[in-house]
Amino acid sequence: MNQVNENSSHSGSLKVEDLYFSFSEHSSSVVDILKGVTLEAQRGEITSIAGPSGCGKSTLLYLMGLLERPGSGKILMDNMEVQNLSDRKRTIARNQLIGFVFQFHFLIKELTALENVRLPLLKNGTDRTIANQISSELLDDLGLKNKVHRPAYKLSGGEQQRVAIARSLVNSPNYLLADEPTGNLDTQNSQAVFELLLLMAQKLNIAVVLVTHNENLAQQSDQEFRMLDGKIFT
């Protein structure tokens, strides 16, 4: 991450500037997904992005999470340009700076709750005992004290989503990117997950970017954006 750009921005924020992204549907036709998107997510806050299906919300999130490369534009993490990092550095950044939460929680069903949560820690070389301790405490904080050693597939939907959130937070990331994290939950669980994200954003000083269809949750966030046809509006 040596491409430092000293633009004026809040310290530790996650920012995208004039971001374009497109892909070829077949061999000839090119579909433009993002058309010059600019936004900034501050640490300690929840930034929500709402919009209809197919407008490019998730793609924007994957670009911010370094899962894809933009056609043009900049992605800045703590004022450093990261869009052109090598695959190896992007992998390290995903492990150490970014946490993901997906709609279908995406746990590895062969592993227990604890084993799922500790994966990012073990990946970055944390000692197994310490990783177990940190992961257990986090699961405890999220109300899963008695489910630590339960296989992921034996947890309820809400519990699985909390385990996924614990996994995304375990490495103390700067940025938490949540793609429809409540899309598969009922109203009560959705509100609980949102409050949990808000609490974590404030407690751990994380910039949370929340992609959601839920208008109610979007309105509760600190900053609200809307997307339509690859463009973003405040």
Binding site: S58, E68, D87, F100, Q103, L107, L119
Partner: protein, 414 residues
């Protein structure tokens, strides 16, 4: 270690396909080792038999080469072209100047024993029965150095033969055909007349042609009976390393101007048969490993499809493409390692069980049970073949897994 841990969890979570893959390796490795142990067992036994009976090298007729050797030398003095022609060579029966040849042979450090043998034929009479035999006149002390005669004696002893100047050792099938006992007097006719001998022992080489035709006499008796007071003999040579026989026999032939034949050349037909059997069974059984490799490829290819979502998760939390590959390669390694371990165990057990199956063979060698060869190289070879098949079978799916684009999978799942 983290990738190995995840691989292990993936393996134990998919018990049925993994056990089927494992069984393929286990069967492949064990069948490979067992068939190799049998074919090479019989081959080794045959080689031991012929080395113990006829030695590693036999030196027979002297030849004179009227054309000599044609060779072309370069300007630097180095030989560029050499051609040995034996087409018009004149052969003289037997070894010329045997005492000098013996001394020369004993100077070779590779040679562990030299036995001079005078050969001829005669007819054995017991009064009621007779049998044409091939006479081998030997100096027993020398012959024990160049053969396994002492170990081949099944009745009587070599000491009885050594102490009786008119003694004879008979092949086992001559002995049973003539219906005599050790200690009986027999008569040998032919050559220069008749001599009376006493049966001092019976030997069995396992090679039927030898057991039903050969008798051993003392050199002096044989010479006087056959009318060769000197010369006319051949040499049987034993080596410390019998596998060096072809090179050494060629060298001896060039140096001594006597025909020298190695055991590999002498028994080429049988050795080729054994080799063909060994290669054929190896190829056949390797097919089991190939099929199990295809099975593993199938299992892992499906596994990659089933695990695309997990791969996407792992990539999103900081696992690299190499890590994802490693997870699938480790799964293959676990199956391979367990397969080789279990396969080797069952191979050892199977080989032992086969070795105690009664099987009476008389012909090119003599045995009353299956002969097996306990050779670590069979296990290593089977493991190497399994390693190659499993590596290819897992590498392709692992490579495919590493190339999965996480964003695409996550987007398609949603």
């Amino acid at each position: 270690m983290l990738c190995l841990e995840i691989a292990w969890r993936f393996v134990i979570a998919r018990k049925r396909p993994m056990i089927l893959s494992l069984l393929g390796i286990v069967f492949g490795v064990s069948f490979f080792v067992i068939t190799q142990a049998q074919t090479s067992g019989f081959e080794q036994f045959f080689i031991r038999t012929i080395l113990g009976t006829n030695g590693a090298i036999r030196i027979s007729d002297q030849f004179q080469d009227p054309l000599g050797t044609v060779q072309k030398s370069g300007k630097d003095g180095k030989v560029k072209f050499i051609f040995h022609s034996r087409e018009d060579a004149l052969y003289q029966e037997g070894v010329h100047q045997p005492d000098l040849v013996r001394v020369a042979l004993m100077d070779y450090p590779e040679i562990s024993g030299v036995s001079e043998i005078i050969e001829g034929t005669g007819i054995l009479h017991t009064g009621s029965r007779k049998k044409t035999v091939q006479i081998n006149g030997i100096r027993w002390v020398d012959h024990l150095q160049a053969s396994d005669l002492n170990g081949q004696i099944i009745q009587g002893t070599i000491d009885q033969f050594a102490s009786d100047q008119m003694g004879a050792l008979l092949g086992s099938r001559i002995f049973s055909r003539l219906n005599i006992k050790v200690g009986d007097r027999i008569m040998l006719q032919g050559g220069t007349g008749t001599i009376h001998l006493r049966v001092c022992g019976v030997f069995e080489t396992g090679v039927s042609q030898i057991d039903k035709n050969r008798i051993y006499l003392h050199m002096g008796n044989a010479r006087s009976f056959l009318g060769h007071s000197a010369g006319g003999s051949i040499f049987q040579v034993a080596l410390n390393k019998p596998e060096l026989a072809p090179e050494l026999s060629q060298q001896l032939q060039n140096v001594l101007n006597h025909r020298a034949v190695s055991w590999q050349e002498r028994e080429k037909v049988w050795l080729d048969v054994f080799k063909a059997l060994r290669v054929s069974s190896g190829i056949t059984v390797s097919c089991i490993l190939l099929l199990s490799g295809l099975g593993i490829f199938n299992v892992f290819a499906i596994s990659v499809i089933e695990k695309t979502r997990d791969i996407a998760i792992l990539r999103s939390i900081g696992f690299s493409q190499t890590d994802v590959s490693a997870i699938f390669l480790w799964q293959g390694a676990i199956i391979l390692f367990a397969g080789i371990l279990l396969g080797s165990f069952f191979a050892g057990l199977g080989t032992y069980l086969i070795s105690i199956i009664p099987l009476r063979i008389r012909g090119i060698f003599s045995t009353d049970s299956f002969v097996v060869n306990w050779d670590l190289s069979h296990y290593l070879l089977a493991s190497c073949i399994a390693l190659i098949f499993v590596s290819v079978a897992t590498w392709i799916p692992a490579r495919r897994a590493s190339r999965i684009e996480p964003a695409k999978i996550i987007r398609e799942t949603i």
